[in-house]
Point group: C2
Chain length 335, copies 2
DNA sequence: ATTTTTTGTGCAAACGGTTGCACTATTTTC
DNA sequence: GAAAATAGTGCAACCGTTTGCACAAAAAAT
C-alpha cells in the first residue's frame, strides 16, 4: 500500500541505504545515482515515514506545548493564542512540530505532560503554565528533560523561563504617573501568590522609592482579575476615604471596573483620577476615555521560549536561564 | 539508558511478547505473570515507547489540527481558541493527541498538512480553514485520508464538515427584528465569497419571504469584517437616503462601527434603528446600548468535529456528512 | 606495475515494540 | 486411559528507517 524506501530502492536499482543517503543528502553519493533515486522518489510519490525515522534517530522533531484550560486569561485577551503563534512560527522555521495539550485544571486528571514525555513523543516541552504541580516539574528536572516555562516560576525553582519585563514595565508605568504630577497612587494588584502580581507591585514600589514618595500599604489592594473586583476596589478606597489621584491596575479588566466605579462616584477620568493598567486588551482603545495601558508581547514570548528550548535541545547541559521580553507603554487618554 | 520492554522481560523472567501482552491486556496471560510483569514495570519505571508502537500499529493516536494564521477572527474573538478547547477535550477523552499547525497564509509557503499527512504523523486531520487550497484538499480526498472541516466548504465540495447553523440563526435573528415591528431591514454582510456571508444572507432572505416582506437589494451591503466598514456602510445608507429601521450585521465588529455611525448621525438605538449582529463578542454586552447578538458555540464545534473525525477513523468508508451546531440569540438592548 | 588512497555502494544490525504461529503442559471429553 | 481441546508462553518476523562497517572499483601515489 504505502510506498517505502525499499520500493524506491528497487525502482532506482540501488540499495535502501543508498536511498536513505540521498534523502539525508550524504555527500558520498554520486550525482548520477542521486538523480536516479530522486526520479524514482518522485515517480512513486515517496515520502519518508516520520515514525520510522524517529524510532532510529530517537527524536521526533516535535515539541510539546502545555496550556492551562483556565479561562480568564485565554478568553479575556488573546494572550495564549498569541504565545502559541509565536511558538508555532519559530518551531516551523526550524522544522519542528507542535504537540498541543490543554491541561484540565482539575486535580487527579491524567497528566498529559507526563505521558508525552515518558513515551517519547516529544523532544522538549514549553509550559504556558505556572501553577504546575511540583511532581511533574520534579520529573522533568530529574530526567533532565529539556523544557521552558512561559512566565516566571512561582517558587523560585531554578528553571529556564521567559517572561514579560513586569518589574520594568511597572516601574515605567508608575514613573509615568508620577511625571504627570500624580502624588498619591494606588495599585490594584492580582492575587499575591501570582508572580506577575508581585513583580508589578515590586516595580511600583521601586518607582515610588526612586521618586521619594513614601509607600503606603493602604493604597495596595489585591484582588482576582475581574471587572467586579476593580469596581469593588475603588468603592472600598472611597469608603475608607483614601481616594488617590491615580490608580495603577495590574490588569485591564480591573481597570475597566475601576473606571466604572469612578464614574459612578461622579468623578472624572483623568482629571480627578488617572488610571493606567497592564496588558492592553483590544477594548482598551475603545473605552472612554481610552485606557493607557502597558502593551505586552505574547507573540515574542512564544518566539523566545521556543528559541531557548532549541538551545537546550542542542545542549542538554545548558544551565537554567531567563529571557525577559520588553513591554511598551501605550499612552492614551486615561491619565 | 532508557528502559525497554526487554529489560522488563528480563526482570520478570518472561519473554518480551508476554510483556507486550500484559500491556495490551491480553486475556490469555495468567494473573500470576501479569502480576510479575506489572511489578517489574513499576520497579523499572517502564513506559512503552509511543514511536515504536506507532511504527507497527500504523497509527499514532494523534490528530492534526490546522489553523489559519489570519488574524481577524482569531484575535477579535476567541473563536479558534474555543474550537481548539473543544477538540482538545474530545481528543483527550479518547486518548488522542493534537498536532497543531498554524498555517502561514502566504502562498508558496510550506504546507504542513501535506507533510504531516504524507509522513504519517497523524491519523486524521481537522481543518479550521476554509480558504484551503484545492491542491491539498484533492490530496486528502484522493488518499481517502480522514479529515473534517470546521466551517462549510467553499465550493460545495463533498467533504465532511461541522458548522454553525448560520442560515437558521440568521432566519431567527431576522424574524426577531420583524416581530419587533421592523419593516425595513438592511443587512451588512461579509465578503460574498465567504460561505458564512452567503448563509447568513440566505437566512435573512428566507425570513423576509416567509413574512411577505419584499427583498430589496439596495439594503444589502457587503464588506470585510471591520469596525470601519460597519461605519462606512451606515454612512452610505444615509447618503443614498435608504435608511432602514433595523440593521442585521453578520459580524459584531461591523455592528460596532454601524452603531457609531448611527450615533454620529444623531439617531437613537434602538428607537430609530435597531441593530442585531452575530458572534456575540465579549464587548457586545458592554456597549451602550448593549448589543443583541447571535451567540455561537465554537467549543461545541470543536467537539463535534472531533467526534465526526473519530467516526471516520473507525470507518474509512463513511460518506461525507455535515453536523450543524445550533446557535442562540442573546437579546439585549440594541433592538 | 604495485601499493595506497579515494569514491561510491551494499550488507546487516539496530531502534522498541507487536503478533501469527508453534509448542508444551494441563485440562476436558469420551 | 488415549485423544482432543484449552491455556499460557516463547520464537521470530516484521514495521520503515538509519548507519557502522566491509568491500569493490577507480584514481592516485610510488
Amino acid at each position: 500500500m504505502t510506498v517505502t524506501i525499499k520500493d524506491v530502492a528497487k525502482m532506482a536499482m540501488v540499495s535502501p541505504s543508498t536511498v536513505s543517503r540521498v534523502i539525508s543528502d550524504d555527500p558520498r553519493i554520486s550525482e548520477e545515482t542521486k538523480l536516479k533515486v530522486n526520479e524514482a522518489m518522485k515517480e512513486l510519490g515517496y515520502h519518508p515515514n516520520a515514525i520510522a525515522r524517529s524510532l532510529v534517530s530517537k527524536s521526533t522533531n516535535t515539541i510539546g506545548v502545555i496550556m492551562p484550560k483556565s479561562a480568564h486569561l485565554s478568553l479575556a485577551n488573546p494572550f495564549f493564542p498569541e504565545v502559541l503563534r509565536g511558538i508555532s512560527a519559530s518551531a516551523n522555521e526550524n522544522g519542528f512540530y507542535i504537540l498541543l495539550s490543554i491541561e484540565d485544571d482539575g486535580i487527579g486528571k491524567v497528566n498529559t505532560i507526563d505521558k508525552i514525555v515518558k513515551t517519547g513523543m516529544v523532544d522538549g516541552v514549553i509550559m504556558l503554565y505556572s501553577k504546575l504541580e511540583d511532581e511533574t516539574l520534579r520529573m522533568l528536572i530529574d530526567k533532565n528533560f529539556p523544557f521552558v516555562m512561559v512566565g516566571k516560576p512561582i517558587n523560585g525553582t531554578k528553571v529556564s523561563y521567559v517572561d514579560n519585563d513586569n518589574i520594568g514595565a511597572s516601574y515605567e508605568a508608575t514613573t509615568h504617573l508620577i511625571n504627570k504630577g500624580r502624588k498619591s497612587i494606588a495599585i490594584i494588584t492580582g492575587p499575591l501568590n501570582m508572580v506577575v502580581s508581585l513583580d508589578r507591585l515590586e516595580g511600583y514600589k521601586r518607582a515610588l522609592m526612586d521618586n521619594r514618595i513614601e509607600f503606603n500599604p493602604d493604597l495596595v489592594i489585591s484582588a482576582e482579575f475581574s471587572k467586579e473586583n476593580g469596581y469593588g476596589a475603588v468603592e472600598n478606597l472611597i469608603k475608607i476615604g483614601k481616594l488617590p489621584d491615580a490608580i495603577l491596575a495590574v490588569d485591564d479588566l480591573l481597570a475597566v471596573g475601576a473606571m466604572e466605579a469612578i464614574k459612578d462616584a461622579g468623578l472624572k477620568i483623568p482629571d480627578d483620577i488617572g488610571i493606567l493598567s497592564f496588558n492592553n486588551i483590544t477594548t482598551a482603545e475603545y473605552l472612554s476615555p481610552s485606557l493607557t495601558s502597558v502593551d505586552i508581547n505574547p507573540y515574542e514570548l512564544g518566539v523566545e521560549a521556543t528559541e531557548l528550548l532549541f538551545q537546550k535541545l542542542q545542549n542538554k547541559k545548558l544551565l537554567p536561564q531567563a529571557r525577559i521580553v520588553p513591554t511598551k507603554l501605550i499612552i492614551r487618554e486615561s491619565c
